[in-house]
Symmetry: C2
Subunit: 357 residues, 2 copies
C-alpha cells in the first residue's frame, strides 16, 4: 500500500511577528536553521513517503510561494490551495479525498508544516511503525510526545498501555493545563503532548468524517465528485468556504473510538513562540540565542534574530529580551512575554500601521 | 565693534552611536528636533551676530557636509576645515587669527555646535550682555550654567560675586565631581556648570595665547602670516597637525587672571548621551521619549529613536531601555548605561564590523 505525506501549511500564526507576516506566515520562514520550515518538513517526510507522494495543503494566497519554496521535492500539482481557511478537519478531509480519488487509497502521514524535530532518525523510526500499524489495524494513529517538562503551552493526550503491544491506547485528549496539573501529568507518566501529527488510511479517515462530521463529509463528497472534471476548481471555490470550521482534534480524534498512540521522543518542538528558539538552536555561554550579525556587551538570556545579515544588532546591559529585526520593523520584547507578541498583530490591525502586518 | 559667532564643530563624539557615525558626528544629527544641531546653533548665533559674521570650524573631512547643512545662514568661506583635530585651543586660536587677519578685530561668541538651549530669548539676553562686557572690559568671559541638580557629568566653575556688578568673577574651574561633592556644589550656590561657551575679543584671546600658550601662538602666527597668500592652504596643512593638543579650558581659562562669568539659566543641556533626550524632548505619560514610528505595549521610561519614519519600533513589556535604529544598526541598551554606548565604538574599531562605525 502506498504511503502519502500530507503537510498542513495553512496557518497564519502571529507569534513570530514581525518575522512572520500576513504575506509570509511562520511555516515559510527559516526558523529552524536549514531551510524554510515547510521545506524542512517535506524533506523529513521524504524519509517516510516518496517525494512524488507528498502533498501540501495551504491557502490559495500562499500556493505559488509554497510551490516555489518546496521545488525539487514536492510536485506543483500536489500543492493544494484552500480558497478559505476552514481549520484542520477540512484541510485533512480535502487531502484525503484528493488522494483517494486521484491516486488511490493509502496511508497518510499528516504533519504540521511548522514544527521542529531534532532527532530525524528516531522520527523516521516512529512514523514508519505508525504507517505499518495504520495499514494493519485500520486505526487512527497519533504520535504523542514524551513530555520533558511540565509545559502549559501544549494540549495533552491521556493514554494507557495496550497489553503486549508497542502502541498505547488513547484515553482522552485534554486541554492545555495549568502549571499544577501539568506537573501532575508529567509525574503520572500517563500523558503525552499532543503534537498534531496523525497517521491513517485515506479511506479510514473519510469513513470517520462520514460518521462524525457528516456536514463536512457531504462537502467533501461534492468536491470529490468534481475532481478530474472541468468543474473541479469552481466547485472547490464554491464549497470549500462553507465547510464547517472545526479542528480534527475536536471533530474526530476526541470522539472516535480506538485511537492508538505511539510515543515519540525525538526532540519535538512546535516552535510556538520566540522562546522556543532557545530549544531549537541552543544558547551560547551567556544564555543568548544569536541569529543575526551582533555585538553584545553584558547581555544575557536574550534572543536576537535579524533577517538581514548586513544589519547589526548591538546590545548593552540587557537581559531576557527578544529582539527581532526585519527591514521595516524592530521588535524589542520581554522574553517572558513572547507569547504576547500576537498583541501587536491585534493592535495594528485596521490602523494606519497595518502595512507592518 | 563687530560681533562674530564661532561654532566649534570638530567633535567626533561616540555616545550617540549608532545615530552618530564617523562620517556624521553628533553635531550633524537632528537631535534637538528642529534641524541639525549645527544649524540650530548657527540660527541661535544669528540672533547675536550677523549671519555673514558667523564662522564654523570643523574637520576637513566634514567641511563639505557642514557647508551643505548650514547653507542659507553661514557662508561657504566661513566654514574653516581643520586638517587634524587638535582640541579646542587650536580651533579657537585658528578662528581668532582668521577673524583678525581677514575681517578685523571684534568680539567672538564661541559656542559648541552640539548643545541644546530651551529658552532662546534668555540665551540672547545673556550673550548680548556678554558681548557688551567683552567689548568694555577686554576680559575673557564665560557663561556658567546655573545648576538645577547635582550633576556628576559636567565640570564646574567656582565663582564669586563682583561687588555691585551683574557679572561674577571666576575663582577656579573644577573637574566633574563625585555625587557627594556635586551635592555640596549645588547647595553652596558658588558653582556653575562649565558650558564651554566663551566671549572675548579676537585680539584679547590671541594675546592670552601669546602669554600662556606660546608654542601654539607661534603656530597661529605662521598660519596668520600665510593668510591671504597662495601658501595659505599649504601652510595650514603643514602647521595645523603639529599644534599642541590642549583644551581652551586647561590651556587658558584655568590659568588666565580676570575671567568673568555671567550666569545663564536658559535650559542648557550638552546632550551628552541618549538620556539627555528626555530633557530635550520631554517624556510622555509613560515616561517614554518616542522619536520614531512606534507601537508600544506596557513600555515605560524608554527612549525610542529611529532615523527612518517608515520603520516601526515595537516594544512589549520593557522598561528603561534606549532603542536607537538606523538603516544598518539596531542598538538596544540599558538606559542607565547610555554613557557606555561608546564601548561599541571601541569594541568595533579595527574589527570586520568597523563599517558600522
Amino acid at each position: 500500500m502506498k504511503t502519502y505525506g500530507v503537510i498542513m501549511a495553512g496557518g497564519g500564526g502571529t507569534r513570530f511577528w514581525p518575522l512572520s507576516r500576513k504575506a509570509r506566515p511562520k511555516q515559510f520562514l527559516e526558523l529552524s536553521g536549514k531551510d524554510t520550515m515547510v521545506m524542512d518538513t517535506a524533506r523529513r517526510l521524504e524519509q517516510i513517503a516518496k517525494a512524488e507522494d507528498i502533498f501540501i495543503v495551504t491557502s490559495m494566497a500562499h500556493r505559488e510561494m509554497t510551490v516555489e519554496l518546496t521545488k525539487g521535492v514536492v510536485s506543483k500539482d500536489h500543492v493544494l490551495g484552500e480558497p478559505a481557511a476552514r481549520n484542520t478537519a477540512a484541510c485533512i478531509g480535502y487531502a484525503a479525498m484528493e488522494i483517494l480519488k486521484k491516486y488511490g487509497d493509502g496511508v497518510m502521514v499528516v504533519a504540521p508544516s511548522d514544527h521542529f524535530i531534532r532527532d530525524e532518525a528516531e522520527y523516521k523510526r516512529v512514523f514508519e511503525r505508525a504507517v505499518e500499524l495504520a495499514e494493519e489495524t485500520d486505526s487512527l494513529i497519533t504520535v504523542g510526545i514524551k513530555p520533558t517538562y511540565p509545559c502549559t503551552g501544549y494540549g495533552y493526550i491521556k493514554n494507557k498501555e495496550s497489553a503486549g503491544k508497542d502502541y498505547r491506547e488513547v484515553v482522552e485528549f485534554v486541554e492545555k493545563p495549568d502549571p499544577e496539573t501539568a506537573h501532575e501529568y508529567l509525574v503520572s507518566g500517563e500523558y503525552a503532548w499532543n503534537s498534531g501529527m496523525f497517521v491513517w488510511k485515506a479511506s479510514v479517515i473519510l469513513k470517520r468524517f462520514e460518521e462524525l462530521l457528516p456536514d463536512i463529509y457531504e462537502c467533501l463528497v461534492k468536491i470529490g465528485d468534481a475532481m478530474g472534471t472541468d468543474d473541479e476548481a469552481g466547485v472547490i471555490d464554491e464549497i470549500y468556504p462553507v465547510i464547517p470550521k472545526i479542528s480534527i482534534d475536536y471533530g474526530i480524534m476526541e470522539r472516535a473510538d480506538r485511537v492508538l498512540m505511539l510515543e515519540g521522543d525525538f526532540g519535538w518542538n512546535d516552535v510556538g513562540s520566540f522562546e522556543a528558539l532557545e530549544e531549537v538552536y541552543g544558547t551560547d555561554e551567556n544564555g543568548n540565542v544569536i541569529m543575526s550579525e551582533a555585538h553584545t556587551i553584558d547581555t544575557t538570556d536574550c534572543i536576537l534574530y535579524g533577517t538581514d545579515r548586513n544589519r547589526l544588532i548591538a546590545t548593552l546591559g540587557v537581559d531576557d529580551l527578544v529582539i527581532a529585526v526585519t527591514d521595516d520593523v524592530v521588535l524589542v520584547a520581554d522574553k517572558n512575554r513572547s507569547q504576547d507578541v500576537k498583541l501587536f498583530v491585534e493592535g495594528l490591525s485596521n490602523t494606519d500601521k497595518d502595512k507592518y502586518l
